[in-house]
Protein backbone atom coordinates (compact mmCIF):
# COMPACT_ATOMS: atom_id res chain seq x y z
CA UNK A 1 0.00 0.00 0.00
CA UNK A 2 1.58 3.34 -1.05
CA UNK A 3 1.92 6.24 1.39
CA UNK A 4 -0.66 9.02 1.11
CA UNK A 5 0.85 12.01 -0.62
CA UNK A 6 0.72 15.53 0.73
CA UNK A 7 1.65 18.86 -0.80
CA UNK A 8 2.97 21.61 1.49
CA UNK A 9 4.16 25.12 0.73
CA UNK A 10 4.07 28.77 1.67
CA UNK A 11 1.70 30.71 -0.52
CA UNK A 12 1.92 34.02 -2.33
CA UNK A 13 4.89 36.28 -1.71
CA UNK A 14 5.43 34.85 1.72
CA UNK A 15 8.94 33.63 2.44
CA UNK A 16 8.46 32.19 5.95
CA UNK A 17 9.54 28.57 5.65
CA UNK A 18 10.60 27.47 9.12
CA UNK A 19 7.10 26.19 9.88
CA UNK A 20 6.69 24.16 6.69
CA UNK A 21 10.24 22.86 6.87
CA UNK A 22 9.51 21.34 10.26
CA UNK A 23 6.04 20.26 9.15
CA UNK A 24 7.56 18.46 6.16
CA UNK A 25 9.83 16.49 8.46
CA UNK A 26 7.06 15.67 10.90
CA UNK A 27 4.80 14.48 8.10
CA UNK A 28 7.55 12.34 6.62
CA UNK A 29 8.24 10.78 9.98
CA UNK A 30 4.55 10.01 10.29
CA UNK A 31 4.51 8.13 7.03
CA UNK A 32 3.42 10.66 4.44
CA UNK A 33 4.90 11.16 1.03
CA UNK A 34 5.58 14.91 1.12
CA UNK A 35 6.13 17.32 -1.73
CA UNK A 36 7.42 20.63 -0.27
CA UNK A 37 6.93 23.49 -2.72
CA UNK A 38 8.89 25.86 -0.51
CA UNK A 39 8.51 29.58 -0.20
CA UNK A 40 6.56 32.04 -2.29
CA UNK A 41 4.51 29.48 -4.08
CA UNK A 42 1.71 30.75 -6.35
CA UNK A 43 -1.67 29.10 -5.80
CA UNK A 44 -1.44 27.67 -9.33
CA UNK A 45 1.60 25.68 -8.31
CA UNK A 46 -0.33 24.12 -5.43
CA UNK A 47 -3.06 23.04 -7.87
CA UNK A 48 -0.53 21.65 -10.32
CA UNK A 49 1.36 19.68 -7.67
CA UNK A 50 -1.88 18.32 -6.21
CA UNK A 51 -2.99 17.12 -9.60
CA UNK A 52 0.41 15.69 -10.42
CA UNK A 53 0.84 13.74 -7.21
CA UNK A 54 -2.82 12.89 -6.68
CA UNK A 55 -2.39 14.46 -3.26
CA UNK A 56 -4.66 13.44 -0.40
CA UNK A 57 -4.06 16.78 1.22
CA UNK A 58 -2.75 20.25 0.46
CA UNK A 59 -1.23 22.13 3.38
CA UNK A 60 -0.89 25.85 2.82
CA UNK A 61 1.21 27.99 5.10
CA UNK A 62 0.93 31.75 5.39
CA UNK A 63 2.63 33.84 8.01
CA UNK A 64 2.96 37.34 6.65
CA UNK A 65 -0.65 38.47 6.73
CA UNK A 66 -1.85 38.24 3.13
CA UNK A 67 -3.36 34.76 3.28
CA UNK A 68 -6.80 35.92 2.27
CA UNK A 69 -5.72 37.62 -0.96
CA UNK A 70 -3.19 34.91 -1.79
CA UNK A 71 -5.66 32.04 -1.45
CA UNK A 72 -8.45 33.60 -3.45
CA UNK A 73 -9.31 31.16 -6.21
CA UNK A 74 -7.27 28.26 -4.86
CA UNK A 75 -10.27 26.02 -4.29
CA UNK A 76 -11.79 26.93 -7.63
CA UNK A 77 -8.47 26.01 -9.24
CA UNK A 78 -8.47 22.63 -7.52
CA UNK A 79 -12.03 22.00 -8.70
CA UNK A 80 -11.13 22.96 -12.26
CA UNK A 81 -8.18 20.57 -12.20
CA UNK A 82 -10.64 17.99 -11.01
CA UNK A 83 -8.84 17.15 -7.79
CA UNK A 84 -10.35 17.18 -4.35
CA UNK A 85 -7.69 16.91 -1.64
CA UNK A 86 -8.29 17.91 1.95
CA UNK A 87 -7.08 21.49 2.32
CA UNK A 88 -5.53 22.87 5.48
CA UNK A 89 -4.18 26.31 6.10
CA UNK A 90 -2.09 27.46 9.04
CA UNK A 91 0.18 30.22 10.30
CA UNK A 92 -0.62 33.87 10.99
CA UNK A 93 -3.69 34.39 8.94
CA UNK A 94 -4.50 38.08 9.31
CA UNK A 95 -2.62 41.33 9.50
CA UNK A 96 -2.69 42.76 12.99
CA UNK A 97 -4.44 41.55 16.11
CA UNK A 98 -7.71 39.94 14.94
CA UNK A 99 -9.61 37.33 16.93
CA UNK A 100 -8.80 33.85 15.69
CA UNK A 101 -12.41 32.68 15.61
CA UNK A 102 -13.32 35.32 13.05
CA UNK A 103 -10.34 34.30 11.00
CA UNK A 104 -11.21 30.63 11.17
CA UNK A 105 -14.76 31.23 9.96
CA UNK A 106 -13.51 33.30 7.08
CA UNK A 107 -11.12 30.64 5.80
CA UNK A 108 -13.68 27.89 6.29
CA UNK A 109 -15.98 29.86 4.03
CA UNK A 110 -13.21 30.04 1.45
CA UNK A 111 -13.22 26.25 1.36
CA UNK A 112 -10.47 25.13 3.73
CA UNK A 113 -11.22 21.92 5.62
CA UNK A 114 -8.85 22.82 8.44
CA UNK A 115 -7.76 26.21 9.73
CA UNK A 116 -4.96 26.30 12.31
CA UNK A 117 -3.43 29.11 14.29
CA UNK A 118 0.27 29.47 15.03
CA UNK A 119 -0.13 27.80 18.42
CA UNK A 120 -0.80 24.41 16.93
CA UNK A 121 1.79 21.69 17.53
CA UNK A 122 3.16 19.63 14.66
CA UNK A 123 1.93 16.53 16.43
CA UNK A 124 -1.61 17.84 16.38
CA UNK A 125 -1.54 18.65 12.67
CA UNK A 126 -0.16 15.23 11.88
CA UNK A 127 -2.63 13.34 14.02
CA UNK A 128 -5.61 15.34 12.74
CA UNK A 129 -4.57 14.62 9.21
CA UNK A 130 -4.00 10.95 9.88
CA UNK A 131 -7.39 10.70 11.51
CA UNK A 132 -9.22 12.52 8.73
CA UNK A 133 -7.55 10.37 6.10
CA UNK A 134 -8.48 7.27 8.04
CA UNK A 135 -4.85 6.28 8.40
CA UNK A 136 -5.05 5.35 12.03
CA UNK A 137 -7.25 2.34 11.47
CA UNK A 138 -4.72 1.13 8.94
CA UNK A 139 -1.66 1.65 11.07
CA UNK A 140 -2.35 1.78 14.73
CA UNK A 141 0.92 0.06 15.36
CA UNK A 142 2.92 2.79 13.70
CA UNK A 143 1.22 5.46 15.76
CA UNK A 144 1.87 3.62 18.95
CA UNK A 145 5.51 3.27 18.07
CA UNK A 146 5.71 7.05 17.65
CA UNK A 147 3.97 8.16 20.79
Amino acid sequence: MSEPSVVVGTIGSDAHVVGITLLEHALKEAGFDVRNLGAQTPKEAFVEAAAETGASAVLVSSLYGHAEQDCEGLHEGLAEADVDPMTYIGGNLAVGQSEFETVRRQFREMGFDGVFDADVEFEEVVSTLRAELGMDERSTRLTQARS
Binding site: T10, S13, V18, T21, G38, Q40, G65, H66, A94, Q97
Partner: protein
Protein backbone atom coordinates in the same frame (compact mmCIF):
# COMPACT_ATOMS: atom_id res chain seq x y z
CA UNK B 1 30.10 37.57 -14.18
CA UNK B 2 29.51 39.91 -11.24
CA UNK B 3 32.62 41.57 -9.82
CA UNK B 4 33.40 43.65 -6.80
CA UNK B 5 34.32 46.81 -8.66
CA UNK B 6 32.99 50.26 -8.23
CA UNK B 7 30.32 51.39 -10.66
CA UNK B 8 31.50 54.36 -12.67
CA UNK B 9 29.60 57.61 -12.63
CA UNK B 10 28.39 56.86 -16.11
CA UNK B 11 27.16 53.45 -15.10
CA UNK B 12 25.40 54.92 -12.11
CA UNK B 13 23.72 57.54 -14.26
CA UNK B 14 22.57 54.97 -16.74
CA UNK B 15 21.27 52.67 -14.03
CA UNK B 16 19.51 55.60 -12.44
CA UNK B 17 17.62 56.11 -15.66
CA UNK B 18 16.61 52.47 -15.99
CA UNK B 19 15.47 52.36 -12.40
CA UNK B 20 13.33 55.46 -12.63
CA UNK B 21 11.87 54.45 -15.99
CA UNK B 22 10.03 51.57 -14.37
CA UNK B 23 8.81 53.78 -11.55
CA UNK B 24 5.09 54.29 -10.97
CA UNK B 25 5.95 57.72 -9.59
CA UNK B 26 7.84 60.77 -10.69
CA UNK B 27 11.60 60.88 -10.41
CA UNK B 28 13.52 63.48 -8.45
CA UNK B 29 16.74 65.21 -9.32
CA UNK B 30 19.80 64.15 -7.35
CA UNK B 31 20.80 67.77 -6.73
CA UNK B 32 17.46 68.61 -5.29
CA UNK B 33 17.62 65.49 -3.13
CA UNK B 34 21.02 66.48 -1.77
CA UNK B 35 19.64 69.91 -1.01
CA UNK B 36 16.75 68.36 0.89
CA UNK B 37 19.16 66.28 2.97
CA UNK B 38 21.33 69.32 3.64
CA UNK B 39 18.31 71.12 4.96
CA UNK B 40 17.67 68.50 7.61
CA UNK B 41 18.57 69.42 11.18
CA UNK B 42 21.43 67.61 12.90
CA UNK B 43 19.22 65.38 15.00
CA UNK B 44 17.78 63.81 11.85
CA UNK B 45 21.15 62.83 10.38
CA UNK B 46 21.21 59.13 10.82
CA UNK B 47 24.91 58.28 10.60
CA UNK B 48 25.92 61.18 12.83
CA UNK B 49 23.37 60.42 15.50
CA UNK B 50 24.25 56.73 15.51
CA UNK B 51 28.00 57.13 15.37
CA UNK B 52 28.24 59.82 18.02
CA UNK B 53 25.89 58.26 20.58
CA UNK B 54 27.35 57.50 23.99
CA UNK B 55 24.83 54.81 24.86
CA UNK B 56 22.91 52.01 23.16
CA UNK B 57 20.22 53.57 20.95
CA UNK B 58 16.80 51.95 20.61
CA UNK B 59 14.94 51.41 17.37
CA UNK B 60 11.67 49.56 16.74
CA UNK B 61 10.24 48.19 13.51
CA UNK B 62 7.05 49.82 12.24
CA UNK B 63 5.19 50.40 9.05
CA UNK B 64 1.57 51.03 8.07
CA UNK B 65 0.20 51.79 4.60
CA UNK B 66 -1.03 55.39 4.86
CA UNK B 67 1.30 58.37 5.19
CA UNK B 68 -0.56 60.14 7.97
CA UNK B 69 -0.86 56.92 9.92
CA UNK B 70 2.85 56.27 9.48
CA UNK B 71 3.61 59.76 10.81
CA UNK B 72 1.34 59.17 13.80
CA UNK B 73 2.87 55.77 14.38
CA UNK B 74 6.42 57.08 14.37
CA UNK B 75 5.47 59.97 16.62
CA UNK B 76 3.93 57.54 19.07
CA UNK B 77 7.17 55.58 19.05
CA UNK B 78 9.27 58.60 19.94
CA UNK B 79 6.74 60.14 22.32
CA UNK B 80 5.62 57.02 24.13
CA UNK B 81 8.51 54.69 23.47
CA UNK B 82 11.49 57.06 23.64
CA UNK B 83 12.75 55.52 20.40
CA UNK B 84 16.09 57.05 19.48
CA UNK B 85 16.05 55.96 15.85
CA UNK B 86 12.97 55.38 13.72
CA UNK B 87 12.14 52.77 11.11
CA UNK B 88 9.86 52.65 8.20
CA UNK B 89 9.06 49.05 7.46
CA UNK B 90 8.06 48.42 3.87
CA UNK B 91 5.14 46.19 2.86
CA UNK B 92 5.58 42.78 1.23
CA UNK B 93 4.24 43.73 -2.18
CA UNK B 94 6.78 46.49 -2.54
CA UNK B 95 9.46 44.02 -1.51
CA UNK B 96 8.25 41.94 -4.43
CA UNK B 97 8.36 44.97 -6.73
CA UNK B 98 4.62 44.46 -7.19
CA UNK B 99 3.87 48.17 -7.08
CA UNK B 100 0.39 47.81 -8.58
CA UNK B 101 -0.64 45.45 -5.82
CA UNK B 102 0.89 47.81 -3.31
CA UNK B 103 -1.05 50.65 -4.88
CA UNK B 104 -4.26 48.66 -4.70
CA UNK B 105 -3.59 47.84 -1.06
CA UNK B 106 -2.84 51.46 -0.31
CA UNK B 107 -6.04 52.64 -1.93
CA UNK B 108 -8.06 49.94 -0.26
CA UNK B 109 -6.54 51.00 3.04
CA UNK B 110 -7.57 54.57 2.39
CA UNK B 111 -11.10 53.46 1.64
CA UNK B 112 -11.63 50.98 4.43
CA UNK B 113 -9.56 52.72 7.07
CA UNK B 114 -7.99 49.31 7.76
CA UNK B 115 -4.36 48.42 7.14
CA UNK B 116 -4.55 46.29 4.02
CA UNK B 117 -0.76 46.12 3.66
CA UNK B 118 1.80 44.90 6.18
CA UNK B 119 4.02 47.95 5.76
CA UNK B 120 4.55 51.35 4.19
CA UNK B 121 4.59 51.31 0.37
CA UNK B 122 7.29 53.95 0.05
CA UNK B 123 7.60 53.74 -3.73
CA UNK B 124 3.91 54.46 -4.18
CA UNK B 125 4.07 57.34 -1.74
CA UNK B 126 6.85 58.70 -3.91
CA UNK B 127 9.66 61.10 -3.13
CA UNK B 128 7.26 63.77 -1.90
CA UNK B 129 5.46 61.42 0.42
CA UNK B 130 8.76 60.31 1.90
CA UNK B 131 9.90 63.87 2.41
CA UNK B 132 6.69 64.73 4.21
CA UNK B 133 7.32 61.81 6.50
CA UNK B 134 10.92 62.78 7.20
CA UNK B 135 9.90 66.36 7.88
CA UNK B 136 7.07 65.40 10.18
CA UNK B 137 8.95 63.17 12.58
CA UNK B 138 11.60 64.06 15.05
CA UNK B 139 14.39 61.52 14.76
CA UNK B 140 16.51 59.91 12.03
CA UNK B 141 14.55 57.39 9.96
CA UNK B 142 15.73 54.20 8.31
CA UNK B 143 14.18 52.14 5.53
CA UNK B 144 13.72 48.55 6.75
CA UNK B 145 12.37 46.07 4.29
CA UNK B 146 13.56 42.73 2.92
CA UNK B 147 13.55 43.60 -0.78
CA UNK B 148 15.89 41.58 -2.97
CA UNK B 149 15.73 44.09 -5.80
CA UNK B 150 15.58 47.32 -3.87
CA UNK B 151 16.88 49.63 -6.54
CA UNK B 152 13.77 51.70 -7.05
CA UNK B 153 12.98 51.63 -3.33
CA UNK B 154 16.44 53.03 -2.63
CA UNK B 155 16.18 55.64 -5.35
CA UNK B 156 12.84 56.87 -4.03
CA UNK B 157 13.57 56.76 -0.32
CA UNK B 158 17.07 58.22 -0.45
CA UNK B 159 15.79 61.04 -2.64
CA UNK B 160 12.96 61.25 -0.14
CA UNK B 161 15.27 62.08 2.75
CA UNK B 162 15.90 58.72 4.43
CA UNK B 163 19.54 58.46 5.48
CA UNK B 164 19.78 54.81 6.33
CA UNK B 165 18.89 51.78 4.25
CA UNK B 166 18.81 48.26 5.59
CA UNK B 167 19.66 45.09 3.71
CA UNK B 168 22.11 43.72 1.22
CA UNK B 169 22.48 41.25 -1.62
CA UNK B 170 22.78 38.21 0.66
CA UNK B 171 20.81 39.16 3.74
CA UNK B 172 17.83 40.42 1.75
CA UNK B 173 17.96 37.54 -0.65
CA UNK B 174 18.38 34.28 1.26
CA UNK B 175 15.87 34.82 4.07
CA UNK B 176 13.30 36.78 2.11
CA UNK B 177 12.74 35.21 -1.26
CA UNK B 178 13.00 32.12 -3.38
CA UNK B 179 13.26 33.88 -6.69
CA UNK B 180 16.68 35.40 -7.11
CA UNK B 181 20.18 34.25 -7.88
CA UNK B 182 22.86 35.74 -5.72
CA UNK B 183 24.69 37.12 -8.73
CA UNK B 184 21.53 39.05 -9.58
CA UNK B 185 20.98 40.56 -6.14
CA UNK B 186 24.65 41.47 -5.82
CA UNK B 187 24.31 43.48 -8.99
CA UNK B 188 21.14 45.21 -7.77
CA UNK B 189 22.73 46.10 -4.49
CA UNK B 190 25.83 47.49 -6.17
CA UNK B 191 23.50 50.14 -7.50
CA UNK B 192 22.00 50.76 -4.06
CA UNK B 193 25.46 51.01 -2.51
CA UNK B 194 26.81 53.19 -5.31
CA UNK B 195 23.85 55.52 -4.95
CA UNK B 196 24.50 55.65 -1.20
CA UNK B 197 28.14 56.32 -2.02
CA UNK B 198 27.14 59.17 -4.32
CA UNK B 199 25.17 60.84 -1.55
CA UNK B 200 28.04 60.20 0.85
CA UNK B 201 30.47 61.94 -1.47
CA UNK B 202 28.21 64.96 -1.48
CA UNK B 203 28.41 65.18 2.28
CA UNK B 204 25.25 63.22 2.95
CA UNK B 205 26.48 59.99 4.48
CA UNK B 206 23.99 57.19 3.92
CA UNK B 207 24.14 54.51 6.60
CA UNK B 208 23.92 50.95 5.30
CA UNK B 209 22.99 48.02 7.46
CA UNK B 210 23.27 44.36 6.48
CA UNK B 211 20.41 42.33 7.95
CA UNK B 212 22.40 40.12 10.30
CA UNK B 213 19.60 37.95 11.73
CA UNK B 214 19.06 36.29 8.33
CA UNK B 215 16.34 33.66 8.81
CA UNK B 216 16.03 34.59 12.47
CA UNK B 217 16.12 30.99 13.57
CA UNK B 218 19.17 29.55 15.31
CA UNK B 219 21.60 31.14 12.88
CA UNK B 220 25.17 30.43 14.05
CA UNK B 221 26.96 33.69 14.96
CA UNK B 222 29.91 33.03 12.69
CA UNK B 223 27.69 32.69 9.63
CA UNK B 224 25.85 35.93 10.39
CA UNK B 225 29.05 37.85 11.01
CA UNK B 226 30.84 36.56 7.92
CA UNK B 227 27.90 37.49 5.72
CA UNK B 228 27.59 40.98 7.23
CA UNK B 229 31.26 41.61 6.69
CA UNK B 230 30.96 40.55 3.07
CA UNK B 231 28.09 42.98 2.55
CA UNK B 232 30.10 45.67 4.33
CA UNK B 233 33.00 45.08 1.94
CA UNK B 234 30.71 45.23 -1.10
CA UNK B 235 29.17 48.46 0.17
CA UNK B 236 32.54 50.00 0.93
CA UNK B 237 33.68 49.34 -2.63
CA UNK B 238 30.80 51.46 -3.85
CA UNK B 239 31.70 54.36 -1.59
CA UNK B 240 29.61 53.68 1.48
CA UNK B 241 31.32 55.03 4.60
CA UNK B 242 28.86 54.21 7.36
CA UNK B 243 28.18 50.52 7.90
CA UNK B 244 26.20 48.95 10.74
CA UNK B 245 26.88 45.24 11.10
CA UNK B 246 23.94 43.30 12.47
CA UNK B 247 23.41 40.26 14.64
CA UNK B 248 20.29 38.60 16.03
CA UNK B 249 20.17 37.41 19.62
CA UNK B 250 20.40 33.66 20.06
CA UNK B 251 19.44 33.87 23.73
CA UNK B 252 22.61 32.57 25.34
CA UNK B 253 24.14 35.51 27.15
CA UNK B 254 27.77 34.51 26.78
CA UNK B 255 27.42 33.58 23.13
CA UNK B 256 25.57 36.78 22.31
CA UNK B 257 28.13 38.95 24.06
CA UNK B 258 30.96 37.06 22.38
CA UNK B 259 29.29 37.44 19.00
CA UNK B 260 28.87 41.21 19.24
CA UNK B 261 32.47 41.56 20.42
CA UNK B 262 33.69 39.39 17.58
CA UNK B 263 31.63 41.40 15.11
CA UNK B 264 33.06 44.69 16.38
CA UNK B 265 36.56 43.29 16.29
CA UNK B 266 36.42 41.69 12.86
CA UNK B 267 34.31 44.47 11.38
CA UNK B 268 36.98 47.08 12.01
CA UNK B 269 39.65 44.64 10.96
CA UNK B 270 38.14 43.58 7.64
CA UNK B 271 36.46 46.78 6.49
CA UNK B 272 38.54 49.59 5.00
CA UNK B 273 39.75 52.20 7.43
CA UNK B 274 37.63 54.97 5.93
CA UNK B 275 34.46 53.13 6.85
CA UNK B 276 32.93 53.84 10.25
CA UNK B 277 31.71 50.54 11.59
CA UNK B 278 28.87 50.35 14.09
CA UNK B 279 26.86 47.37 15.31
CA UNK B 280 23.22 46.53 15.82
CA UNK B 281 21.82 43.83 18.06
CA UNK B 282 18.37 42.45 17.24
CA UNK B 283 16.20 41.14 20.03
CA UNK B 284 15.32 37.47 19.43
CA UNK B 285 14.19 37.09 15.81
CA UNK B 286 12.74 33.60 15.99
CA UNK B 287 9.33 32.45 17.11
CA UNK B 288 8.09 34.40 20.12
CA UNK B 289 5.82 33.23 22.96
CA UNK B 290 2.24 34.13 22.15
CA UNK B 291 1.66 35.26 25.70
CA UNK B 292 2.59 38.92 26.11
CA UNK B 293 3.92 38.50 29.63
CA UNK B 294 6.34 35.82 28.45
CA UNK B 295 7.19 37.86 25.38
CA UNK B 296 8.15 40.70 27.72
CA UNK B 297 10.59 38.35 29.38
CA UNK B 298 12.23 37.59 26.04
CA UNK B 299 12.38 41.29 25.21
CA UNK B 300 13.94 42.13 28.57
CA UNK B 301 16.55 39.41 28.18
CA UNK B 302 17.52 40.94 24.85
CA UNK B 303 17.78 44.34 26.47
CA UNK B 304 19.92 42.94 29.26
CA UNK B 305 22.27 41.37 26.74
CA UNK B 306 22.61 44.67 24.92
CA UNK B 307 23.31 46.45 28.19
CA UNK B 308 26.19 44.07 28.86
CA UNK B 309 27.90 44.25 25.48
CA UNK B 310 26.79 47.69 24.33
CA UNK B 311 26.26 47.52 20.61
CA UNK B 312 25.56 50.90 19.03
CA UNK B 313 21.88 50.19 18.73
CA UNK B 314 19.27 47.59 19.53
CA UNK B 315 16.25 46.69 17.40
CA UNK B 316 13.32 46.02 19.70
CA UNK B 317 10.40 43.65 19.46
CA UNK B 318 6.91 44.13 20.84
CA UNK B 319 5.04 41.82 23.20
CA UNK B 320 2.63 41.11 20.33
CA UNK B 321 5.36 39.70 18.07
CA UNK B 322 3.86 36.23 17.80
CA UNK B 323 0.40 37.51 16.97
CA UNK B 324 0.92 39.83 14.09
CA UNK B 325 1.84 43.38 13.31
CA UNK B 326 1.78 45.11 16.70
CA UNK B 327 -0.32 48.09 17.68
CA UNK B 328 1.59 51.33 18.15
CA UNK B 329 0.99 51.07 21.88
CA UNK B 330 2.45 47.56 22.09
CA UNK B 331 5.42 48.62 20.01
CA UNK B 332 6.06 51.55 22.36
CA UNK B 333 5.68 49.23 25.34
CA UNK B 334 8.44 46.99 23.94
CA UNK B 335 10.65 50.04 23.65
CA UNK B 336 9.98 51.10 27.24
CA UNK B 337 10.61 47.64 28.68
CA UNK B 338 13.85 47.63 26.72
CA UNK B 339 14.72 51.15 27.84
CA UNK B 340 14.19 50.39 31.50
CA UNK B 341 16.45 47.32 31.48
CA UNK B 342 19.06 48.96 29.27
CA UNK B 343 19.28 52.01 31.46
CA UNK B 344 19.34 50.17 34.77
CA UNK B 345 21.98 47.71 33.65
CA UNK B 346 24.17 49.98 31.62
CA UNK B 347 24.81 52.07 34.72
CA UNK B 348 26.71 49.11 36.18
CA UNK B 349 29.64 47.15 34.86
CA UNK B 350 28.77 43.55 34.18
CA UNK B 351 31.61 41.29 33.10
CA UNK B 352 30.89 37.72 32.17
CA UNK B 353 33.31 34.87 32.46
CA UNK B 354 33.92 32.66 29.46
CA UNK B 355 33.25 35.27 26.79
CA UNK B 356 36.78 35.20 25.43
CA UNK B 357 36.75 31.50 24.68
CA UNK B 358 33.46 31.71 22.83
CA UNK B 359 34.63 34.81 21.01
CA UNK B 360 37.77 33.02 19.85
CA UNK B 361 35.70 30.19 18.49
CA UNK B 362 33.45 32.59 16.61
CA UNK B 363 36.30 34.66 15.22
CA UNK B 364 38.13 31.60 14.07
CA UNK B 365 35.07 30.35 12.20
CA UNK B 366 34.39 33.73 10.64
CA UNK B 367 37.97 33.93 9.41
CA UNK B 368 37.80 30.55 7.78
CA UNK B 369 34.46 31.37 6.15
CA UNK B 370 35.86 34.61 4.78
CA UNK B 371 39.07 32.92 3.64
CA UNK B 372 36.96 30.44 1.73
CA UNK B 373 35.07 33.27 0.05
CA UNK B 374 38.21 35.15 -0.95
CA UNK B 375 39.75 31.92 -2.22
CA UNK B 376 36.67 30.96 -4.17
CA UNK B 377 36.63 34.35 -5.87
CA UNK B 378 40.36 34.59 -6.42
CA UNK B 379 40.37 37.60 -4.18
CA UNK B 380 37.13 39.08 -5.54
CA UNK B 381 34.56 39.08 -2.78
CA UNK B 382 31.55 39.34 -5.09
CA UNK B 383 32.56 36.40 -7.22
CA UNK B 384 33.72 34.56 -4.13
CA UNK B 385 30.33 34.96 -2.52
CA UNK B 386 28.51 33.50 -5.49
CA UNK B 387 30.98 30.63 -5.67
CA UNK B 388 31.02 29.96 -1.95
CA UNK B 389 27.25 29.70 -1.71
CA UNK B 390 27.15 27.56 -4.83
CA UNK B 391 29.55 25.11 -3.24
CA UNK B 392 27.91 25.32 0.17
CA UNK B 393 31.10 26.73 1.69
CA UNK B 394 28.82 29.47 2.97
CA UNK B 395 25.31 28.45 3.94
CA UNK B 396 22.42 29.42 6.24
CA UNK B 397 19.80 27.34 8.03
CA UNK B 398 16.17 27.40 6.83
CA UNK B 399 16.65 29.45 3.65
CA UNK B 400 13.53 29.88 1.53
CA UNK B 401 15.94 30.60 -1.29
CA UNK B 402 17.66 28.09 -3.48
CA UNK B 403 20.63 30.40 -3.62
CA UNK B 404 21.76 28.74 -0.42
CA UNK B 405 22.04 25.00 0.08
CA UNK B 406 20.32 25.03 3.44
CA UNK B 407 22.37 22.00 4.39
CA UNK B 408 23.49 23.37 7.73
CA UNK B 409 21.33 22.34 10.63
CA UNK B 410 21.69 24.16 13.95
CA UNK B 411 20.89 22.92 17.44
CA UNK B 412 21.61 24.20 20.92
CA UNK B 413 24.20 22.64 23.14
CA UNK B 414 23.56 21.84 26.78
CA UNK B 415 24.27 25.43 27.75
CA UNK B 416 21.90 26.80 25.11
CA UNK B 417 24.56 27.99 22.68
CA UNK B 418 23.82 27.52 19.01
CA UNK B 419 26.04 24.88 17.41
CA UNK B 420 25.86 22.99 14.15
CA UNK B 421 24.50 19.52 13.98
CA UNK B 422 25.06 19.30 10.25
CA UNK B 423 27.74 21.39 8.58
CA UNK B 424 26.89 20.52 5.00
CA UNK B 425 29.89 21.79 3.12
CA UNK B 426 30.47 24.79 5.37
CA UNK B 427 34.04 26.08 5.30
CA UNK B 428 35.04 25.63 8.92
CA UNK B 429 38.00 23.54 9.99
CA UNK B 430 37.71 20.12 11.50
CA UNK B 431 38.77 21.27 14.95
CA UNK B 432 35.85 23.66 15.06
CA UNK B 433 33.56 20.89 13.91
CA UNK B 434 34.85 18.65 16.65
CA UNK B 435 34.07 21.29 19.23
CA UNK B 436 30.50 21.58 17.97
CA UNK B 437 30.13 17.82 17.83
CA UNK B 438 31.41 17.38 21.34
CA UNK B 439 29.03 19.97 22.71
CA UNK B 440 26.06 18.37 21.03
CA UNK B 441 27.19 14.96 22.23
CA UNK B 442 27.06 16.24 25.78
CA UNK B 443 23.55 17.43 25.24
CA UNK B 444 22.55 14.17 23.59
CA UNK B 445 23.81 12.36 26.66
CA UNK B 446 21.89 14.65 28.99
CA UNK B 447 18.72 14.04 27.04
CA UNK B 448 19.36 10.43 26.30
CA UNK B 449 18.56 10.79 22.60
CA UNK B 450 20.61 11.21 19.44
CA UNK B 451 21.12 14.67 17.94
CA UNK B 452 18.44 14.67 15.28
CA UNK B 453 15.97 16.74 13.36
CA UNK B 454 13.55 16.28 16.22
CA UNK B 455 16.05 18.06 18.46
CA UNK B 456 16.23 20.93 15.97
CA UNK B 457 12.44 21.18 15.82
CA UNK B 458 12.28 21.23 19.62
CA UNK B 459 14.88 24.00 19.72
CA UNK B 460 13.07 26.07 17.11
CA UNK B 461 9.95 26.12 19.26
CA UNK B 462 11.68 26.26 22.65
CA UNK B 463 11.60 30.01 23.31
CA UNK B 464 7.99 30.32 22.24
CA UNK B 465 7.29 27.39 24.58
CA UNK B 466 8.90 29.18 27.52
CA UNK B 467 12.47 27.90 27.54
CA UNK B 468 15.79 28.10 25.75
CA UNK B 469 16.70 24.50 24.99
CA UNK B 470 14.09 22.18 23.50
CA UNK B 471 14.28 19.26 25.87
CA UNK B 472 12.28 16.12 25.13
CA UNK B 473 9.00 15.29 26.84
CA UNK B 474 8.35 18.86 27.61
CA UNK B 475 4.87 19.71 26.40
Amino acid sequence: MVEDTRLTDAELEQLDQTVWESAPVESASFEEAVAFHEGLPEHKRFADVLESADRVLTQPRAGVPRLDDQIDLLQTLTDEGDADLLPTTIDSYTRDNAYEKAQAGLEQSRETGENELNGFPAVNHGVDGCRRLIEAVDAPVQVRHGTPDARLLAAVTLAGGFQSFEGGPITYNLPYTSKYELAETIEYWQYVDRLSGAYTERGVPINREPFGPLTGTLVPPSVAIAICIIEGLLAATQGVRSVTLGYGQVGNLVQDVAAIRAMEQLGTEYLPEEVTVTTVFHQWMGGFPRDEARANGVIALGAATAAVVEPDKIITKSPQEARGVPTAAANAAGLRTTGQVLQMLSEQSVDLEGVDREQDLIERSVRSLLDAVFDAGDGDVARGTVEAFEQGLLDVPFPPSEAADGDVLPARDDDGRVRLLKFGNLAVDSEVKQIHDARLETRATTENRRPSFRMVADDVSAISDGRLVGRPGDD
